[in-house]
Symmetry: C2
Subunit: 147 residues, 2 copies
């Protein structure tokens, strides 16, 4: 039914390779298309979306939404190895998107599964809040300040 394509295409490979080359970095569909603006196999935005969607389905790429950003973020998932312990923290004050390496999330997963009968997909975890720098700067009061 949703058998992965039997066709190999230059654009598909290029897209995946580009994502993989980012070493954990995340990009939007538009950024991918822009990256291939001049490249040999130029890739249109429509096609980028199609490949990204496919890659997400196949588990090779992570897709997540960050409130504040207008478009989805895509990130190479490295076969789950360097990825399963790698989560996102979004600072609501300065807009920074930080990475969090923390085994504690496994405990949460275990707990929620055991006590609340829900199996968390850690890939999409995004926590919102305030980063260290912003905490220093604004003590604990103030609000606004989108980067």
């Amino acid at each position: 039914m949703s058998r992965p394509t039997r066709y190999s295409t230059a654009q598909g490979k290029a897209t995946l390779e580009y994502l993989a080359s980012l070493e954990g970095g995340h990009v939007t569909a538009a950024q991918v298309a822009e990256h291939f603006g001049d490249a040999k196999p130029s890739i249109g935005l429509t096609t980028v979306y199609r490949h990204l969607e496919r890659l997400v389905e196949s588990g090779l790429v992570r897709k997540f939404f960050v409130d504040g950003a207008s478009s989805a973020c895509y990130q190479y998932a490295a076969g789950d190895d360097n990825c399963s312990e790698h989560f996102h923290l979004k600072c609501e004050s300065c807009g920074a998107l930080l990475h969090l390496e923390c085994g504690m999330l496994d405990e949460i997963q275990r707990h929620v599964r055991a006590e609340h009968a829900f199996l968390i997909n850690k890939n999409k975890m995004v926590f919102y809040g305030k980063c260290a720098d912003c905490m220093k700067v604004m003590g604990g009061a103030a609000e606004n300040a989108e980067a």
Copy 2:
């Protein structure tokens, strides 16, 4: 600068009261507008968005995005009382949006703050994964099935 308005308006009150009447339920801006389609103080979508934004800023209402849903969700925040221990679980298989009452999230907050210098805003927490029913039905394999 962002002084809350000194004006009281029928639409603003109606919007807040409607949210509050939902007892923890969440709605989209469109749903709010639709709800007031016939009502005495009919409220246009534009105005609904404006009031919701305001209510979110003032902390009376929670706003969160759920991947898969195309629009933002708004939920009465009840002055932080019945709300601070109330989080969301989104089943990626059946689409259900479940509620989670769990003190463990406080531990996470404490840990991430202490060890990772980041203060999590628990309001926006949304965990993705698979609900109990879907786990039963599909064992552990299959994928698709948006509700």
